[in-house]
Amino acid sequence: MLDVLIVDDSAAIRKILQRVLRQAEIPLGTVYEAGDGVEALEALRKQPVGLILSDINMPNMDGLEFLTKVRAEPSWQKLPIVMVSTEGTQAKVLEAVERGATGYVRKPFTAEQIKEKLACYFE
Protein backbone atom coordinates (compact mmCIF):
# COMPACT_ATOMS: atom_id res chain seq x y z
CA MET A 1 0.00 0.00 0.00
CA LEU A 2 1.32 3.39 -1.03
CA ASP A 3 0.46 6.58 0.85
CA VAL A 4 0.13 9.65 -1.39
CA LEU A 5 0.39 13.40 -0.76
CA ILE A 6 -1.56 15.69 -3.13
CA VAL A 7 -0.31 19.29 -3.18
CA ASP A 8 -2.52 21.84 -4.96
CA ASP A 9 -4.02 25.16 -3.93
CA SER A 10 -7.29 24.13 -5.59
CA ALA A 11 -9.49 22.01 -3.34
CA ALA A 12 -11.36 20.97 -6.50
CA ILE A 13 -8.24 19.48 -8.07
CA ARG A 14 -7.28 17.72 -4.82
CA LYS A 15 -10.77 16.20 -4.75
CA ILE A 16 -10.59 15.11 -8.41
CA LEU A 17 -7.13 13.57 -8.05
CA GLN A 18 -8.19 11.76 -4.89
CA ARG A 19 -11.24 10.38 -6.70
CA VAL A 20 -9.14 9.22 -9.65
CA LEU A 21 -6.69 7.45 -7.32
CA ARG A 22 -9.46 5.74 -5.38
CA GLN A 23 -11.19 4.54 -8.55
CA ALA A 24 -7.98 3.12 -9.99
CA GLU A 25 -7.24 -0.49 -9.21
CA ILE A 26 -4.05 0.25 -7.33
CA PRO A 27 -2.83 -0.59 -3.82
CA LEU A 28 -3.57 2.87 -2.46
CA GLY A 29 -3.02 3.66 1.21
CA THR A 30 -3.86 6.96 2.87
CA VAL A 31 -4.17 10.10 0.74
CA TYR A 32 -2.99 13.32 2.40
CA GLU A 33 -3.59 16.84 1.09
CA ALA A 34 -1.74 20.16 1.25
CA GLY A 35 -2.63 23.55 -0.22
CA ASP A 36 0.90 24.77 -0.96
CA GLY A 37 4.57 23.89 -0.58
CA VAL A 38 4.79 25.08 3.01
CA GLU A 39 1.88 22.91 4.10
CA ALA A 40 3.29 20.02 2.09
CA LEU A 41 6.69 20.16 3.84
CA GLU A 42 4.94 20.21 7.22
CA ALA A 43 2.79 17.24 6.21
CA LEU A 44 5.81 15.29 4.98
CA ARG A 45 7.70 15.83 8.23
CA LYS A 46 4.72 14.51 10.19
CA GLN A 47 3.84 11.64 7.89
CA PRO A 48 6.16 10.12 5.26
CA VAL A 49 4.48 9.09 2.00
CA GLY A 50 5.48 6.98 -0.98
CA LEU A 51 4.40 9.36 -3.75
CA ILE A 52 3.72 13.09 -4.17
CA LEU A 53 1.53 14.76 -6.81
CA SER A 54 2.22 18.49 -6.88
CA ASP A 55 0.97 21.55 -8.72
CA ILE A 56 3.50 24.25 -9.70
CA ASN A 57 1.67 27.58 -9.42
CA MET A 58 0.72 27.91 -5.76
CA PRO A 59 0.86 30.71 -3.18
CA ASN A 60 3.39 30.87 -0.32
CA MET A 61 5.72 28.24 -1.79
CA ASP A 62 5.31 27.08 -5.38
CA GLY A 63 5.80 23.55 -6.62
CA LEU A 64 9.32 24.09 -7.98
CA GLU A 65 10.61 25.52 -4.71
CA PHE A 66 8.89 22.70 -2.85
CA LEU A 67 10.61 20.23 -5.16
CA THR A 68 14.01 21.78 -4.47
CA LYS A 69 13.47 21.66 -0.70
CA VAL A 70 12.36 18.04 -0.80
CA ARG A 71 15.41 17.00 -2.82
CA ALA A 72 17.69 18.85 -0.40
CA GLU A 73 16.59 16.46 2.34
CA PRO A 74 18.71 13.27 2.09
CA SER A 75 15.91 10.94 3.19
CA TRP A 76 13.56 12.29 0.50
CA GLN A 77 15.93 12.25 -2.47
CA LYS A 78 14.38 9.14 -4.04
CA LEU A 79 10.77 9.99 -3.22
CA PRO A 80 8.73 9.99 -6.48
CA ILE A 81 7.25 13.41 -7.24
CA VAL A 82 4.92 13.88 -10.23
CA MET A 83 4.12 17.47 -11.18
CA VAL A 84 0.50 18.11 -12.27
CA SER A 85 0.32 21.59 -13.77
CA THR A 86 -1.04 23.87 -16.46
CA GLU A 87 2.55 24.94 -17.13
CA GLY A 88 3.28 23.29 -20.45
CA THR A 89 6.38 24.73 -22.06
CA GLN A 90 9.43 22.58 -22.66
CA ALA A 91 11.49 24.95 -20.53
CA LYS A 92 9.20 24.58 -17.51
CA VAL A 93 9.11 20.79 -17.78
CA LEU A 94 12.90 20.64 -18.04
CA GLU A 95 13.22 22.92 -15.02
CA ALA A 96 10.98 20.59 -13.02
CA VAL A 97 13.03 17.56 -14.11
CA GLU A 98 16.29 19.31 -13.27
CA ARG A 99 14.95 20.03 -9.80
CA GLY A 100 14.06 16.39 -9.30
CA ALA A 101 10.56 15.70 -10.66
CA THR A 102 10.10 12.07 -11.68
CA GLY A 103 7.03 12.71 -13.85
CA TYR A 104 4.89 15.45 -15.36
CA VAL A 105 1.20 15.56 -16.21
CA ARG A 106 -0.22 18.64 -17.90
CA LYS A 107 -3.65 19.99 -16.95
CA PRO A 108 -6.25 19.35 -18.29
CA PHE A 109 -5.91 15.61 -17.78
CA THR A 110 -8.13 12.57 -18.09
CA ALA A 111 -8.47 9.94 -15.38
CA GLU A 112 -6.81 7.47 -17.76
CA GLN A 113 -3.77 9.71 -18.18
CA ILE A 114 -3.32 9.97 -14.42
CA LYS A 115 -3.72 6.22 -13.94
CA GLU A 116 -1.30 5.46 -16.77
CA LYS A 117 1.27 7.89 -15.43
CA LEU A 118 1.09 6.61 -11.86
CA ALA A 119 0.82 2.88 -12.53
CA CYS A 120 4.59 2.32 -12.31
CA TYR A 121 4.72 3.68 -8.76
CA PHE A 122 2.20 1.12 -7.53
CA GLU A 123 3.84 -1.96 -9.07
Binding site: A11, I16, T89, A91, Y104, F109, Q113
Partner: protein, 183 residues
Protein backbone atom coordinates in the same frame (compact mmCIF):
# COMPACT_ATOMS: atom_id res chain seq x y z
CA UNK B 1 -4.86 40.16 -39.43
CA UNK B 2 -5.07 42.79 -36.71
CA UNK B 3 -2.10 42.76 -34.35
CA UNK B 4 -2.92 42.76 -30.63
CA UNK B 5 0.58 44.23 -30.39
CA UNK B 6 3.91 43.32 -31.95
CA UNK B 7 4.34 39.57 -31.83
CA UNK B 8 0.81 38.18 -32.01
CA UNK B 9 -2.27 38.84 -34.07
CA UNK B 10 -5.87 39.05 -32.91
CA UNK B 11 -6.69 35.88 -34.84
CA UNK B 12 -3.85 33.96 -33.16
CA UNK B 13 -4.96 35.06 -29.71
CA UNK B 14 -8.56 34.07 -30.46
CA UNK B 15 -7.43 30.68 -31.72
CA UNK B 16 -5.32 30.15 -28.59
CA UNK B 17 -8.33 30.98 -26.37
CA UNK B 18 -10.74 28.80 -28.36
CA UNK B 19 -8.36 25.87 -28.46
CA UNK B 20 -7.55 26.00 -24.73
CA UNK B 21 -11.17 26.46 -23.66
CA UNK B 22 -12.47 23.69 -25.89
CA UNK B 23 -9.79 21.28 -24.68
CA UNK B 24 -10.31 22.03 -20.98
CA UNK B 25 -14.11 21.76 -21.16
CA UNK B 26 -13.99 18.62 -23.26
CA UNK B 27 -11.36 16.86 -21.13
CA UNK B 28 -12.41 17.87 -17.63
CA UNK B 29 -16.20 18.25 -18.07
CA UNK B 30 -16.98 16.15 -21.14
CA UNK B 31 -18.81 19.23 -22.42
CA UNK B 32 -18.90 20.35 -26.04
CA UNK B 33 -18.91 24.10 -26.68
CA UNK B 34 -20.46 26.22 -29.41
CA UNK B 35 -18.20 29.19 -30.23
CA UNK B 36 -19.74 32.66 -30.40
CA UNK B 37 -18.77 35.80 -32.25
CA UNK B 38 -15.54 37.37 -31.00
CA UNK B 39 -15.44 41.06 -30.12
CA UNK B 40 -13.02 43.58 -28.71
CA UNK B 41 -13.95 45.57 -25.65
CA UNK B 42 -12.17 48.75 -24.67
CA UNK B 43 -14.81 50.87 -23.08
CA UNK B 44 -15.98 50.03 -19.61
CA UNK B 45 -18.17 46.95 -19.80
CA UNK B 46 -21.82 47.09 -18.87
CA UNK B 47 -22.60 45.98 -15.30
CA UNK B 48 -22.64 42.21 -15.02
CA UNK B 49 -23.94 39.57 -12.65
CA UNK B 50 -22.67 36.11 -11.93
CA UNK B 51 -19.16 34.74 -11.48
CA UNK B 52 -15.94 36.25 -12.81
CA UNK B 53 -12.59 34.57 -12.32
CA UNK B 54 -9.48 36.66 -13.04
CA UNK B 55 -5.84 35.66 -13.49
CA UNK B 56 -2.85 37.91 -14.05
CA UNK B 57 -0.09 37.33 -16.59
CA UNK B 58 3.35 38.86 -16.06
CA UNK B 59 6.69 38.71 -17.82
CA UNK B 60 8.04 40.34 -20.94
CA UNK B 61 4.33 40.73 -21.71
CA UNK B 62 1.72 41.56 -19.09
CA UNK B 63 -2.03 41.33 -18.93
CA UNK B 64 -5.00 39.46 -17.54
CA UNK B 65 -7.30 36.63 -18.47
CA UNK B 66 -10.77 35.93 -17.18
CA UNK B 67 -13.72 33.60 -17.43
CA UNK B 68 -17.19 34.98 -16.69
CA UNK B 69 -20.50 33.13 -16.56
CA UNK B 70 -23.96 33.28 -15.00
CA UNK B 71 -24.30 31.76 -11.53
CA UNK B 72 -26.52 29.00 -12.90
CA UNK B 73 -23.84 27.92 -15.40
CA UNK B 74 -21.14 28.11 -12.72
CA UNK B 75 -23.15 25.60 -10.66
CA UNK B 76 -23.57 23.29 -13.68
CA UNK B 77 -19.85 23.43 -14.49
CA UNK B 78 -18.89 22.68 -10.89
CA UNK B 79 -21.32 19.75 -10.84
CA UNK B 80 -19.66 18.27 -13.93
CA UNK B 81 -16.19 18.99 -12.55
CA UNK B 82 -16.67 17.46 -9.10
CA UNK B 83 -19.48 14.99 -9.88
CA UNK B 84 -21.73 16.47 -7.21
CA UNK B 85 -24.91 18.56 -7.23
CA UNK B 86 -24.62 22.28 -6.56
CA UNK B 87 -28.00 24.06 -6.48
CA UNK B 88 -26.36 27.36 -5.51
CA UNK B 89 -23.02 29.15 -5.38
CA UNK B 90 -20.70 27.99 -2.60
CA UNK B 91 -16.94 27.72 -2.02
CA UNK B 92 -16.67 24.51 -4.06
CA UNK B 93 -18.40 26.12 -7.06
CA UNK B 94 -16.14 29.18 -6.89
CA UNK B 95 -13.04 27.01 -6.48
CA UNK B 96 -14.10 24.94 -9.49
CA UNK B 97 -14.52 28.04 -11.67
CA UNK B 98 -11.15 29.33 -10.45
CA UNK B 99 -9.45 26.05 -11.39
CA UNK B 100 -11.14 25.88 -14.80
CA UNK B 101 -9.96 29.45 -15.45
CA UNK B 102 -6.47 28.50 -14.31
CA UNK B 103 -6.41 25.63 -16.80
CA UNK B 104 -7.80 27.71 -19.69
CA UNK B 105 -5.63 30.79 -19.19
CA UNK B 106 -2.64 28.60 -18.27
CA UNK B 107 -2.91 26.82 -21.60
CA UNK B 108 -3.40 30.12 -23.46
CA UNK B 109 -0.24 31.31 -21.69
CA UNK B 110 1.69 28.24 -22.86
CA UNK B 111 0.71 28.98 -26.46
CA UNK B 112 1.63 32.66 -26.09
CA UNK B 113 4.94 31.86 -24.38
CA UNK B 114 6.13 30.03 -27.45
CA UNK B 115 5.84 33.33 -29.33
CA UNK B 116 6.30 36.01 -26.71
CA UNK B 117 8.67 34.57 -24.13
CA UNK B 118 8.25 33.42 -20.57
CA UNK B 119 5.35 34.67 -18.46
CA UNK B 120 4.20 34.00 -14.92
CA UNK B 121 0.63 33.23 -13.92
CA UNK B 122 -1.01 34.54 -10.76
CA UNK B 123 -3.40 32.48 -8.69
CA UNK B 124 -7.05 33.15 -9.66
CA UNK B 125 -9.31 35.68 -7.95
CA UNK B 126 -13.02 34.86 -8.13
CA UNK B 127 -15.81 37.41 -7.78
CA UNK B 128 -19.45 36.50 -7.36
CA UNK B 129 -22.21 39.08 -7.17
CA UNK B 130 -24.68 41.28 -8.98
CA UNK B 131 -24.36 44.55 -10.84
CA UNK B 132 -20.56 44.80 -10.77
CA UNK B 133 -18.03 45.98 -13.34
CA UNK B 134 -14.53 44.78 -14.14
CA UNK B 135 -11.96 46.76 -16.09
CA UNK B 136 -8.24 46.94 -16.68
CA UNK B 137 -6.56 49.73 -14.75
CA UNK B 138 -4.63 50.62 -17.93
CA UNK B 139 -7.82 50.51 -19.99
CA UNK B 140 -6.37 48.01 -22.45
CA UNK B 141 -8.36 46.21 -25.12
CA UNK B 142 -9.87 42.90 -24.13
CA UNK B 143 -10.28 40.20 -26.74
CA UNK B 144 -13.57 38.58 -25.73
CA UNK B 145 -14.36 35.05 -26.93
CA UNK B 146 -17.91 33.92 -26.12
CA UNK B 147 -19.03 30.28 -25.97
CA UNK B 148 -22.31 28.52 -25.38
CA UNK B 149 -22.44 25.55 -23.04
CA UNK B 150 -25.59 23.65 -22.17
CA UNK B 151 -27.73 26.51 -23.52
CA UNK B 152 -25.96 29.24 -21.54
CA UNK B 153 -23.37 31.79 -22.60
CA UNK B 154 -19.99 32.39 -21.00
CA UNK B 155 -16.96 34.43 -22.04
CA UNK B 156 -13.21 33.93 -21.89
CA UNK B 157 -11.28 37.14 -22.40
CA UNK B 158 -7.67 38.20 -22.45
CA UNK B 159 -5.88 41.53 -22.57
CA UNK B 160 -2.15 41.48 -23.11
CA UNK B 161 0.51 44.02 -24.02
CA UNK B 162 4.29 44.31 -23.99
CA UNK B 163 5.71 45.07 -20.58
CA UNK B 164 7.07 48.60 -20.79
CA UNK B 165 9.28 47.89 -17.77
CA UNK B 166 11.20 45.24 -19.72
CA UNK B 167 13.60 46.77 -22.23
CA UNK B 168 14.41 43.74 -24.31
CA UNK B 169 12.07 40.96 -25.33
CA UNK B 170 13.68 37.67 -26.16
CA UNK B 171 11.08 35.15 -27.28
CA UNK B 172 12.16 31.75 -26.08
CA UNK B 173 12.02 28.85 -28.48
CA UNK B 174 9.93 25.96 -27.31
CA UNK B 175 6.82 23.96 -27.96
CA UNK B 176 3.85 22.71 -25.93
CA UNK B 177 4.52 19.38 -24.34
CA UNK B 178 2.22 16.37 -24.48
CA UNK B 179 -0.16 15.76 -21.61
CA UNK B 180 1.83 12.94 -20.11
CA UNK B 181 5.59 12.87 -20.15
CA UNK B 182 7.81 10.07 -19.02
CA UNK B 183 10.87 11.70 -17.53
Amino acid sequence: MTPVANGITQAELVEAIRSATTEVFSTMLNLELAPGEVFVEKEEAAPASGVVSLIGLAGTWVGSGSLSCPASLACKLASLFLLAEYPGINDEVLDSIAELTNMVIGNVKTTLENRLGSMGLSTPTVIYGRNFQTRSARNQEWTVVPFEADGERFCVQVCIAPNSDVKTQTPRPGFPVPHVLNV
